[in-house]
């Protein structure tokens, strides 16, 4: 596999990061201690490089109708400035990726514009699937992933830190920005003002922002954010804590909870699928049949949260047991740094998926007690 390096690779090296391969990218795993980084995001703020994520622009008169066809959600119903979590599915309902779509203001000539953000490892296949599905629509699908960096600031101090880079007259753009919305904001970077797309989105369960920036300006923005943060307010944060943060927040990870073999209903993402939209979309017939068959509610397996009653954590692919019989499989699991007990996401047979059900995880031959709990495991105080 080709090794990709983000525009921030040198910054990570300077900070002493240890690296890991993720979706073909050399990404910072951690800079110091993943636990310290995790707690910093919960209590102050973390600075993440997410440049491995994809950025695909969809523009043209048919852009909204096209995305209604290509994705499972009703994208055309979204207002300008908003973002929406959705899925791109196969004809058989299998999930190709989960992604976020941002609706941007229309171009000067009145054309609709959307930015679609797929996961790192799926960026190419998503861009290709979109291009293929665009055949009968008047749209242009432009994969800008290679030129675009993405920097996230996540945590309760995120807003205060970013405001220091924005002229006072424009503070309202940031403070008034709602969750799952995005706006162009003038940021002071390396002595000049840059209009950057700022989104109030994230993958940590905290308040936070994601900033889209040209590769050429990424290092300067990273340094500028680091420079305006006060002592103890912000730490660079790697993929290790990103995983523990998103797990506590009960957010699925493609490749763990979501896959082409799974389906949205089993994954608890039924509400994301808009069977009510009038138009056809890829996967519709299969998803209608899955829903009618009770997938994830009365049949098959369902994604649940498991809380460990002991100290030992379940890990991906470990069997889930009920009275010694295998009734499921863990997809993600580790000790929760914030909550102090092990947590896991697992697919279990629907008859054992009720909150409060006592189950075991087979920990390398030993049955360790867990209990089904409501997701998310962790919810921030607003």
């Amino acid at each position: 596999m080709t090794e990709n390096y983000t525009a921030l690779y040198e910054e990570h090296k300077k900070l002493g990061a240890s690296f890991t391969d993720f979706g073909g990218w050399q990404m910072p795993l951690k800079y110091s201690s993943e636990l310290a980084e995790h707690h910093a995001v919960r209590n102050a703020a973390g600075l993440f490089d997410l440049s491995h994520m994809g950025e695909v622009w969809v523009t043209g008169p048919d852009a909204a109708a096209f995305l209604d066809y290509a994705l499972v959600g009703k994208i055309s119903a979204m207002s300008v400035g908003k973002a929406k979590y959705s899925l791109i599915c196969q004809e058989d309902g299998g999930i190709i990726d989960d992604l976020i779509t941002y609706r941007r203001p229309v171009a000067e000539d009145g054309t609709d514009r959307f930015l679609v953000v797929p996961n790192a490892g799926n960026a190419v296949v998503v861009a290709e699937a979109l291009a293929e599905r665009a055949a009968n629509f008047d749209v242009v699908v432009d994969d800008a992933s290679a030129d675009t960096s993405l920097i996230a600031v996540q945590g309760p101090k995120a807003e205060a830190i970013l405001l220091r880079l924005v002229p006072a007259a424009q503070h309202e753009l940031v403070t008034g920005l709602k969750y799952y919305a995005a706006v162009e904001v003038p940021f002071m970077v390396a002595g000049s003002s840059k209009d950057l797309l700022l989104a109030r989105t994230g993958y940590t369960g905290e308040d936070g922002f994601e900033i889209f920036v040209d590769n050429a300006d990424a290092a300067a923005l990273w340094q500028a954010i680091s420079a305006v943060a006060e002592e103890g307010e912000l730490v660079p944060a790697g993929l290790a804590c990103r995983d523990s943060l998103r797990l506590e927040a009960g957010m699925p990870l493609y490749g763990n909870e979501l896959s082409r073999e799974g389906n949205p209903y089993a994954a608890g993402l039924g509400p994301v699928v808009s069977l009510a939209k009038v138009s056809d979309f890829v996967g519709r017939a299969a998803l209608e049949a899955l829903k009618a068959g009770g997938a994830g509610s009365t049949s098959g397996r369902k994604l649940v949260g498991l809380k460990g009653l002991g100290r030992r954590a379940g890990r991906g692919h470990y069997p889930v047991l009920k009275d010694g019989n295998v009734v499921g499989e863990v997809t993600s699991g580790q000790p929760s740094p914030t909550l102090g007990y092990p947590v896991a996401l697992a697919y279990v047979d629907v008859e054992h998926s009720e909150v409060g059900t006592a189950l075991d995880i087979d920990l390398r031959g030993k049955a360790e007690p867990f209990e089904v709990v409501a997701l998310p495991f962790y919810k921030r105080q607003k």
């Binding site: 951690k30 201690s33 993943e34 636990l35 290790a240 523990s244 954590a313 000790p335």
Partner: protein, 127 residues
């Protein structure tokens, strides 16, 4: 780069061995291993009185991201375990060659052990 304590011997499985009085040895895991594991959150040690065999598993070390088997670098009877690291596994990260020691064995024989230099050159540690 991870420190390799020069006065200790090491196994290929990243345990260190310190010679104490007579045939008594104390055992822990190297900083190379703790760096690779990440923050350690749980440790399962052999029982006092148990017999351990060189090169065989005798416990587990669990970090935020993964679980690793703990191997005994020597054969013999376990005489003492470090209850402080059971209560606070972070000691293994913060002081792997000191307060983070794991257990002691009255050693009857050693498994294959490396000198600090050999271990460092093989595993990228710093003496």
């Amino acid at each position: 780069m991870a420190k390799v304590a020069p006065e200790l011997q090491y196994s290929d499985e990243h345990e260190w061995v310190a010679r104490e009085a007579g045939n008594l040895v104390s055992i822990g895991i190297s900083a190379v291993a703790t760096d690779a594991l990440g923050d350690i959150v749980y440790v399962d040690l052999p029982e006092v009185g148990a017999t351990v065999t060189a090169g065989e598993t005798c416990g587990e070390v669990e970090s935020t991201k993964s679980v690793s088997d703990l191997y005994s670098p020597v054969a013999g009877e376990v005489t003492e375990t470090n209850s402080a690291v059971v209560d606070d596994p972070a000691l293994i990260n913060s002081d792997p060659y000191g307060a983070g020691w794991l257990f002691k064995v009255a050693a009857e024989s050693d498994g294959p052990l490396l000198s600090a230099e050999e271990y460092a050159s093989k595993n990228g540690g710093e003496l």
